[in-house]
Symmetry: C2
Subunit: 341 residues, 2 copies
């Protein structure tokens, strides 16, 4: 494995000159020298040692992507399409920027902070972090961090998210417009601030605007997992004065409900309408295809990397930034007027 030293010797220059050539500070080197150095680099197949560079430059070129070790449904981490699509696009962008991606599931804030510090990562992107964890992370490690889909209130943190509340509102309005008056809500619990709470709030707002209300017995809590949702369908149907439509906070829930309803002899959308959220592939896999709120996940990933790189460029003078991407309703086949009673 040739080193900088080897290249320098072979090219008849100092290590520092080689370093300058390799790091783009080419204004400090004559064209002839640059050519000579590059020739040697190629011939020897020289590859800089990233650890050495990181150690002396105090800059690792590593970006960490941290995701929940288990999602709400108790499923294996990263298993859900949203997170994997997101990771994939982050990886692409990070690589494009000449940086490296370290993937981390977050078991505890401590161990995550430990890793970040140990590798002296330049910055980090966090998926699915709770508000208290955000604060702990910031105090534990001083580097650019951007959070995704975080609805905490602190103005000091950078966040990239979507119009969750508007999404909920659009879902509610669409169902109302179709003629529904008894509309249910199915999603995970939302004791803490987060996307589910926002979607719920927007949904309730739409009902309120129309002079309707969300009855407690029409709220069914269900973790984001297909099987959970299949089971939840029965609970929806068992409610007194059962709803004629439901808003599910995630497509995977919508898909599970769909199966559950149909199994229970309640056809969709004839007897029951469904609106999902996210516009994941699953929404088109099933029949009827699920009407849902579209969000641009790769776009969110690009925005997250962009914000991170901006912060990196201005660090430590960087200011926090919040970006919110739009949502839009995608009409498909799971919404119809309520059955003529």
């Amino acid at each position: 494995m040739p080193t900088l030293q080897d290249v320098a010797r072979e090219a008849g220059v100092s290590k520092m000159t080689v370093s300058n050539v390799l790091n783009g500070r080419r204004d400090r080197v004559s064209p002839a020298t640059i050519a000579r150095v590059m020739e040697v680099v190629t011939r020897l197949g020289y590859v800089p040692n990233a650890s050495a560079r990181s150690l002396s430059a105090r800059r690792s070129n590593i970006v960490a992507l941290a995701f929940p070790s288990r999602d709400a449904g108790g499923v294996t981490p990263m298993t859900n399409p949203h997170d994997s699509l997101f990771l994939s696009e982050v990886e692409a962008q990070v690589t494009q920027a000449g940086l490296y991606l370290m993937a981390h599931s977050v078991n505890s804030v401590e161990s995550t902070a430990h890793s970040l510090r140990s590798w002296n990562v330049d910055g980090a992107i966090f998926l699915g972090t709770r508000a208290d964890e955000v604060a702990a992370l910031h105090t534990a490690y001083d580097a650019p961090m951007v959070f995704v889909d975080n609805h905490g209130t602190s103005p000091h943190i950078s966040n990239v998210g979507i119009e969750d509340r508007l999404g909920g509102q659009l879902a509610g309005r669409r169902l109302i417009e179709a003629g529904h008056r008894r509309i249910g809500f199915v999603g995970p619990r939302f004791d803490e601030p987060g996307v589910v709470r926002e979607r719920h709030a927007g949904f309730v707002q739409a009902l309120t605007e129309a002079g309707l209300s969300l009855r407690p017995e029409h709220v069914v809590h269900c973790d984001a997992g297909f099987d959970h949702a299949v089971a939840a369908a029965r609970r929806v149907l068992a409610a007194p004065q059962r709803p004629t439509a439901v808003f599910a906070t995630a497509d995977i829930i919508a898909a599970g409900l769909l199966k559950g309803f149909v199994r229970a002899g309640c056809p969709v959308p004839d007897q029951m309408s469904i609106i999902g959220f996210d516009d994941l592939e699953v929404a088109r896999h099933v029949s009827p295809e699920i009407t849902t709120l579209h969000q641009d996940i790769p776009g969110k990933a690009r925005a997250a990397v962009e914000v991170l790189l901006t912060q990196l460029a201005h660090w430590p003078a960087a200011r926090s930034e919040r970006r919110v991407l739009g949502v839009s309703l995608v009409e498909r086949e799971s919404v119809a007027p309520p059955p003529a009673s």
Copy 2:
């Protein structure tokens, strides 16, 4: 940020002693000293610098996971459930082993090898690598590597895969057992060795055993993507003497076919039976649920990490190892006897 030096000074010992304590060579240190050092480490919140450690120890503690930058369907990398499930389990295992995971999409063998060398990664796991790339990788970087689902013939490479051929065979047999005589095959092209070719071979074998043959007009090529498969359904139906059943080399293809068949007025399984492969979630999302060949993806990930760690432990004397996990047929709802003609 406290350093080893700070800890040593504070504890009144040498750097080397602190290092020994931290790296488990505790037999070389007295219990009293260990206690003192640990107390200081905790009090100062000392976190070792991974780059420095990597540089001097010539061991990075980094494992790379490399995945195709675009899969066969031209979809964004990592988007498919198989890869993301795999990555997630690899991450868990790697973390558990006290190592770090660097995620890489492979645009070119050169850039990948560059990254591996630059970070001096301890080892790497490769998803979806072609045979020629495998060879190039091995010559470009000398470290433990394990390939996944590689059906190349070289005995020198470590591989973890599944019984693809048996899977194809079981699929064929199941369809034959149901009474089908004209059975089609839908999957990506398989000019090179790989899982598709194996699954196809096993499938053909089953037909042959039963005195049947796979007619060329019953082979429909289709990339692994839902929409591609929806479109492919028409081609299956358009074949002269159309088949009464098809084997799809992936569940996502099976799901797309299902939709395509139903749309074309050909109900599944009444008029057309389908068997998929992988047993991904999508197989249970759709109706009818898809009968498929189960493979244990997290198990494959664990095996891959295990093989890698074993090699790491014995490096450079390590011997290559090939592991093959089983497959099993999962009965669901997409297979029925052929329609009475």
